[in-house]
Symmetry: C2
Subunit: 411 residues, 2 copies
């Protein structure tokens, strides 16, 4: 485990900041109504790397002046490594660039944060075993909980890139066709079982044109975000056979505003759990490709204080993002810079480690206690916040918040 790298930015040297010099995550920010520009989080500040490239202090072929990190990602791994190294040196305690950089440090409090990258396409997986087992048990009983393919392939479905939004964007309770098990006919109305899914998102940083191996997939994942896959359980129940979830998952998917790079997480790599049945060779992991990242979700009602409703860890996933990405290309599917892969809901083994309200309230049968009441599913006015970090020795690699408030349906 490495130790804290000290920066001349004092707020970056505290054990509780999400953004020490060891992290350096990439985002897009604006001040007032100005155009969004690329920045790097350090302590309580955002370093305006757009301005630094504009002034010639940094030189990355203009990829720091695009208002999105896609062009930088496309420039390739050599540039990724060079940039991170250069930033690490520039921002270090004792750096002789301090006086040049300080005018370009913007207080994060004053900055509006935007989508850090343009999502090319969005895929969501179902690769957390506790989650799949919990959901399967509710619907089919514990004997048939896992679908037959589940232990052999990281199953997933294509989601909707246009619905991905940055933390802080309010989400509108969706309308949809609903039909309860005892209804004769469907009806059209607001979802009554609107939920979160606590996930990590992996961002593809290099294009590929044909099948790639798990090792190759690992190399082209640029970084990670927290991801909340808002889900309308009642819309899903009626629509999902036989083609999978569609409108139930299309209202919004929220991501945290900072891309935490694979490089920053390098020291927190960990293996996936032991296989229950052997995987076919094309899905073998040549090394640890998952990460040890603590995760939690807070729920704050319209008038009330926050209750932490779950705590879990990314290491609970049965498949890594690299395995998911390799599987995604088996048929020859081309991948693009900016593709986003949702991990699937990350539930842990215990009752308080579940990554969705569906599981936490066991389908509404065991409502959760929260500040001033109970919850089976999300109520209008509730704000849901995902948080996560890897823990180093005296520092953390954090993701910032992934939050969203539920607005009432427009009927």
């Amino acid at each position: 485990m490495t130790t804290l790298l000290r920066s001349f930015v004092k707020s970056a040297n505290t054990p509780t900041t999400d953004f020490p010099l060891n992290n350096l995550p990439y985002g897009v920010f604006s001040i007032g109504g100005d155009a969004p520009r690329q920045g790097v989080a350090i302590g309580d500040f955002v370093l305006d790397v757009h301005a630094l490239e504009e002034s010639g202090r940094l030189s990355y072929s203009g990829t720091l002046m695009k208002g999105s990190w896609n062009a930088f990602m496309a420039s390739g791994k050599t540039e990724w490594v060079r940039f991170r190294q250069e930033l690490t040196n520039l921002l270090a305690e004792g750096s002789d660039a301090q006086s040049v950089l300080e005018p370009h440090l913007v207080a994060m409090k004053k900055a509006a944060l935007h989508m850090p990258f343009t999502v090319s396409e969005y895929t969501d997986f179902y690769a957390g075993k506790h989650h799949a087992f919990n959901v399967g048990t509710m619907f089919r009983g514990p004997e048939n909980a896992l679908p037959p393919n589940w232990l052999h392939i990281p199953i997933g479905y294509n989601g909707r890139a246009s619905s991905v939004a940055v933390s802080g964007t309010p989400v509108r309770r969706p309308m949809g066709q609903l039909k309860g098990p005892n209804d004769d006919m469907p009806r059209f109305g607001p979802s009554q079982r609107f939920d979160i899914e606590l996930e990590m998102g992996a961002i593809v940083g290099q294009a590929s044109d044909g099948p790639i191996s798990v090792a190759e997939a690992f190399e082209i994942i640029f970084g990670y975000v927290l991801l909340n896959d808002w889900s309308a359980r009642d819309i899903q129940a009626w629509e999902y056979q036989p083609l999978g979830p569609f409108q139930a998952k299309a209202t919004m998917t929220t991501v945290s505003p900072w891309i935490v790079t694979a490089e920053a997480l390098e020291n927190f790599r960990i293996s996936t759990p032991e296989r229950e049945v052997p995987l076919l060779p094309h899905l073998h992991e040549p090394g640890p490709m998952l990460y040890d990242i603590d995760l939690e979700v807070g729920l704050t009602p319209e008038s009330g204080t926050e209750t932490i409703i779950t705590r879990t860890n990314y290491r609970e996933m049965y498949y890594s993002a690299a395995q998911q990405l390799a599987h995604h290309t088996t048929s020859g599917c081309p991948m693009r810079v900016g593709d986003l892969l949702g991990s699937g809901t990350i539930s842990g083994p215990g009752k308080n480690n579940r990554g969705s309200l569906l599981e936490l309230s066991w389908g509404g049968k065991e409502p959760l206690e929260i500040d001033g009441g109970t919850r089976s599913f999300i109520e209008d006015g509730d704000t849901l916040v995902l948080r996560g970090h890897a823990s180093g020795n005296g520092f953390r690699i954090g993701f910032g918040e992934c939050s969203g408030k539920l607005l009432p349906a427009k009927t």
Copy 2:
């Protein structure tokens, strides 16, 4: 029914050309290795509208010089109507612009055709009743053939935009995880049941941000293409529960190279078939929104001549593209310029009207007779061609070919 509009381009005045003056579909072409540019098909020629805007003869804010029709689509319906009207006048018999236009008519034979638009996201539906009934009968018997939701919503799934390619692009037989019903364990190998799906694709020409009505959806559909949703039936059988098709559909989706506009098809509008159960109000069609378009598929083996393996019509769909698009937005899903919606496989009522080999060979039990042999599924070296046209009085509104040749798997 309108009659043929005569053009000074003689080859546009024949009853068998796909591209009379009544059509004017939009494509992207190149000559030699030059950069792709926008063009309009007329008889045996492509009118180079890029050159005409460059020279100032046409004025559409530069949207004809983008190498793709997305910017023109985004410019809105007033511009769509103005452009079509201007082209109709310019290319008419007796037009005084003939001498100005003739140098910009490129022989289609000499042109390479490219994707006419950038696919933002791709959605595929399952909205042909004969197809759903046939497939359901094979897997679940005729009593349970249609899923319970089928008559109430146009069910669909998100596909993969990165895999959409223009006619003529060879398709590689995919690898994938396969498990037969009698196998103990899955294995990894080339798909043995690779298939076509004969579909129409509808192209979204204006963005929307929340739920839209069927009438609004109809207004923002810019045009249509033929679409072949190549499908690996054996990969699909193993992967699709419970999240729907994924790698089975990600190898390639081929589209015809010319966007036939909704305006060109206006005189061929027709109502969807009678409802078997009433639809909820949000899916009511306020008028005829389907089109009468004859469709066929030809199969040519590596050494052999073409056999027409099916003939059907777009009017067989149970849901129109407008209904599909409206359903797509019910949950608030944002739609973008360049979104592509596949209709679902268009099978007709008879044995020779089926839109996939799965149905034509009844799951391989009744192989098709073709030139020099039989087929249950596609064999390496086979070329599949989709064709389609609406029939006017002495003219046709055609789509050009949507073709692809199957290359052997790379094992």
